[in-house]
């Protein structure tokens, strides 16, 4: 994504968040969640700010950010295609869906396309096992899929 | 929350609003609401029944509607099913009659004979 997301406005929001968690016990995780939400990622610049304001070593913050899959160092693409790879979806053929999505978009699992349009993710159970196999594109949920459904879905976002 | 009594009072209030979703016991009032019934004025009757039941806090009474009961000329009509009793059919109803049925039959247990299908026919 070429858009600048490290804006002053976002940093001002981050400062507010850190300030409001001052009296909380164990505030790091909630602050990181907010930071991920504000910036769409937690790159080094953001980690440095958190480190300085909270007086926690940068290394420690980097360690936490990279441990959890919900926190990312780079922002995701405009459309995040998540294919559920929970057990129920897997036994109903989710792997073939992944292969087809990768083939069609040319983007690998866990990667973002160069133009910042698509990110592909294999997620663990989203809990819609009744609809297995399932994939989501941002907020849209597509269930009871077969490989032949994939081109139609991708088409919708290509426009 | 200060006491169990306060909580219980709150529960007794709240239960009236969700009672409908429990397993059915108690009284069922069925209103004939096919085209003929609606044309004859079944809707105000239904509203009156609901209003009266609510005012009196009759939690164990279900009011539901059905299609054509078959005697269109006597509409609006309702059927009352009380546990362990025979079905009672009331005909040619109005709002006032409906309220009387709730008061006399449902609450006090005495059938309003003059409105029943037997009396009118």
């Amino acid at each position: 994504m070429t858009k600048n997301y490290l804006t002053e406005e976002n940093f001002a929001k981050l400062h507010e968040v850190i300030e409001s968690h001052k009296d909380m016990q164990g505030p790091l995780m909630p602050i990181l969640h907010e930071a991920q939400h504000i910036f769409g990622a937690i790159p080094l610049e953001v980690q440095k700010t958190i480190s300085e304001k909270m007086n926690v070593p940068l290394a420690e913050i980097y360690g936490v950010v990279t441990f959890y899959s919900q926190f990312t160092l780079e922002p995701k693409g405009e459309y995040l295609i998540s294919i559920c790879l929970g057990t129920a979806c897997y036994v109903r053929g989710a792997q073939q869906l992944i292969d087809k999505v990768v083939e069609m978009t040319g983007v690998g699992v866990g990667k973002t396309s160069l133009d910042g349009k698509y990110s592909i993710e294999a997620t663990r159970c989203i809990g819609a096992c009744g609809l297995a196999p399932v994939l989501t594109v941002n907020e849209d949920v597509y269930g009871r899929l077969v490989v032949a459904d994939i081109p139609g879905i991708i088409q919708k976002y290509n426009g | 929350m200060k006491s169990l009594a306060e909580l219980s009072k709150l529960r007794d209030e709240a239960i009236k609003k969700v009672d409908i979703r429990k397993e059915r016991v108690g009284t069922r009032i069925v209103v004939g609401m096919a085209t003929c019934g609606i044309a004859a004025g079944a809707r105000p009757v239904l509203t009156a029944l609901m209003d009266e039941a609510q005012k009196r806090g009759l939690g164990d009474v279900t009011i539901t509607q059905t299609g054509c009961i078959g005697v269109c000329r006597l509409e609006p009509l309702i059927e009352v099913y009380k546990e362990g009793e025979e079905k009672v059919t009331y005909v040619e109803l109005t709002e006032e009659k409906a309220r009387r049925i709730i008061a006399e039959h449902i609450v006090n247990g005495s059938i309003v004979k003059e409105f029943t299908i037997g009396a009118v026919e």
């Binding site: 969640h33 057990t87 609809l131 | 609003k17």
Partner: protein, 599 residues
């Protein structure tokens, strides 16, 4: 008017929301308004009904009519026919495949899926609106807390839980009452209660459904636990991947605070209790209690050796009780109805009920709650409605990536904590994934190992390195380059990792491999010796062939082949050149005689 003659319950659980139930709810409200029925008929958004396969689900009371897979075009019909004229729309009702009925059952109470269940933990799910505290109170909510605070001593609460025999539903099966007693006796001025809602088993969603459908039950139970052990503060650690559950729990906590059921001097006693939600961030290992504690404290979610147990040193170094969602959800009813009521269900060693998330190759995917000791057969065939497409039942995996599989020989085993462990599986949190004869068990084991390798936190060597090596071996086997020595090494690695890993994740990670090796050794051998995948799933071991008999030489397959691997003259037998074939399978559906097969 507060009194409505009919209620339309629309499922707002994640499963149904994903299939569009919120739009359906909106359309009901709209349609009712247009017909001026909105003062008579109320639309209620509830938690999960359990039968996710049939979603979006709507139930119309007082009849209890169970409408399944409701589409937008069906809404007007239900309103016009059922709600206006009182005629149940029979063709939209759920069809009960398990029951031998000629006529469709019109009431939800008669559907086999529900009839065989005993709903204790899920009693309010799909019945109440989880965002309205009064509805919880109407179904005896917070009565247990009131009773405990005003009539029972903390020791009495602990004793009642001990007497009920309640065991931890998160997987371990440790007696809850004992855990509470240890924590009460631990020295410390400050103590905490915590709820483990980091449901990570892929394919399990019972905790999410409880939080979405009945969040107050968990709040009430945590308050009871806090009273019992002497804590004033609680944390709920919940997966960030469950936005609906997070939101509803947040609403529930706010409502409880407003009503004075959380806060200071609850029920005018000296008891104070407040609670906070902490979000997980996508790490399976955080379901392990010491890792969960580290995560709440703001560190990498890595486990540490036990002892000391959380009961002595938990969150911020203080004594802490940690129970999972389902365990908590059983607590208020035990206090209210008594331990004897609870032990009237289930088996002697595992009293009560258990919720399972039934998924995979099964007709009725969904949440089921059964008394402990129910047989697998009843769950899969009666409640689950059997296997779709007339396929053969092959196995069921319980306990997710930490558990093992049970086979056709175990169908009559009564399910409880101890029987499952004895068979080399485990209860786990309650995921139950059914596979049929088209699923390869070696690949299934590989899938779980892939998961554990991904989720291993990396702290201890056996788990970090060992599971990776196991995965490599399984990948060799499924791609056709495995050897007999690989099988021996796989087993040896499995036992070493089990014995030497630091936490539950590593100690149980080899289970899927060990149990498939035990019950499906022939499939492993087929992959290694014959280089075949009997289920026809492992792509590298498959070849697509045209059978010798039946080919009419129509050339349909030849024309569709992208790499020109098929040869043969018109009206002559066709052949696939295996050296060229890329196994795309495009020819299979084209064959009018269905003689092209994977084998």
């Amino acid at each position: 008017m507060d009194f409505y003659r009919a209620h339309v319950l629309v499922c707002g659980g994640t499963g149904c929301v994903s299939s569009g139930s919120l739009t359906i709810e909106e359309m009901f409200n709209q349609a009712l308004k247009e017909r001026s029925l909105d003062k008579e008929v109320k639309v209620v958004r509830t938690g999960c009904f359990g039968l996710c396969e049939a979603g979006p689900i709507c139930i119309v009371y007082p009849e209890g009519s169970f409408y399944s897979r409701v589409e937008q075009k069906d809404v007007e019909r239900i309103v016009d026919e059922h709600l206006l004229k009182g005629r149940i729309v029979k063709d939209l009702l759920f069809v009960d495949k398990a029951a031998d009925v000629t006529e469709i059952e019109t009431s939800i109470n008669n559907v086999t899926f529900y009839k065989k269940q005993k709903r204790v933990v899920l009693q309010n799910c799909g019945v109440i609106n989880p965002e309205v505290i009064e509805e919880y109170i109407a179904f005896d909510g917070y009565q247990a807390l009131g009773k405990a605070l005003t009539q029972m001593k903390p020791e009495d609460v602990i004793n009642e839980i001990k007497r009920s025999g309640l065991r931890g539903r998160g997987g371990g099966g440790f007696p809850t009452g004992l855990k509470w007693e240890f924590t009460r006796k631990s020295k410390g001025d400050i103590k905490y209660v915590a709820c483990n809602a980091d449901e990570g088993d892929p394919g399990a969603f019972m905790d999410r459904s409880v939080l979405e459908g009945d969040p107050h039950a968990v709040i009430e139970a945590m308050a009871l636990a806090a009273y019992a052990i002497g804590a004033e503060k609680g944390y709920v650690y919940i997966r960030a991947e469950y936005p609906i559950a997070v939101k509803r729990l947040g609403i529930a906590i706010a409502q409880a605070k407003e009503m004075g059921l959380l806060g200071e001097r609850i029920f005018d006693t000296d008891f104070n209790f407040d609670m906070e939600i902490r979000l997980g961030a996508g790490a399976f290992v955080c379901g392990e209690e010491t890792a969960l504690i580290a995560s709440i404290e703001g560190e990498r979610g890595m486990p540490r050796p036990k002892p000391p147990f959380p009961a002595e040193k938990g969150i911020f170094g203080k004594p802490t009780v940690i129970n999972n969602v389902e365990t908590y959800a059983s607590v208020p009813q035990i206090i209210l109805k008594g331990a004897d009521w609870f032990t009237s269900f289930g088996t002697e060693k595992s009293p009560g009920t258990k919720v399972f998330a039934l998924g995979g190759k099964i007709n009725n995917t969904g949440l089921v709650e059964i008394p402990m000791g129910t047989s697998l057969r009843e769950v899969i065939y009666d409640i689950g409605g059997g296997i779709p497409n007339d396929r053969q039942f092959k196995a069921v995996q319980t306990g997710g990536p930490s558990g093992g599989c049970l086979t056709v020989d175990h169908l009559d085993t009564p399910i409880d904590f101890d029987t499952l462990t004895a068979l080399g599986s485990m209860m786990g949190s309650g995921g139950m994934i059914v596979v049929d004869d088209t699923n390869c068990m070696v690949d299934f084991a590989r899938f779980f190992l892939d998961f554990t390798v991904d989720e291993s936190c990396g702290k201890c060597v056996p788990c970090r390195e060992g599971t990776k090596r196991m995965l490599e071996i399984l990948e060799r086997i499924t791609s056709g380059t495995g050897t007999m020595a690989d099988l021996d090494q796989l087993e040896e690695l499995a036992y070493t990792i089990k014995d030497s890993s630091l936490c539950g994740l590593g100690q149980t990670a080899p289970n899927p491999v060990l149990s498939t090796l035990k019950y499906f050794k022939d499939e492993y051998l087929a992959h290694v010796v014959d280089k075949k995948c009997p289920a026809g799933m492992c792509q590298d071991l498959l070849s697509i062939v045209i059978l010798d008999e039946g080919c009419i030489g129509c050339t349909a397959c030849k024309r569709v082949c992208p790499v020109d691997a098929i040869s043969g003259e018109v009206k002559q037998q066709h052949v696939i050149d295996q050296a060229i074939c890329i196994k795309c399978g495009a020819c299979i559906p084209k064959c009018p005689k269905k003689v092209i097969v994977k084998q």
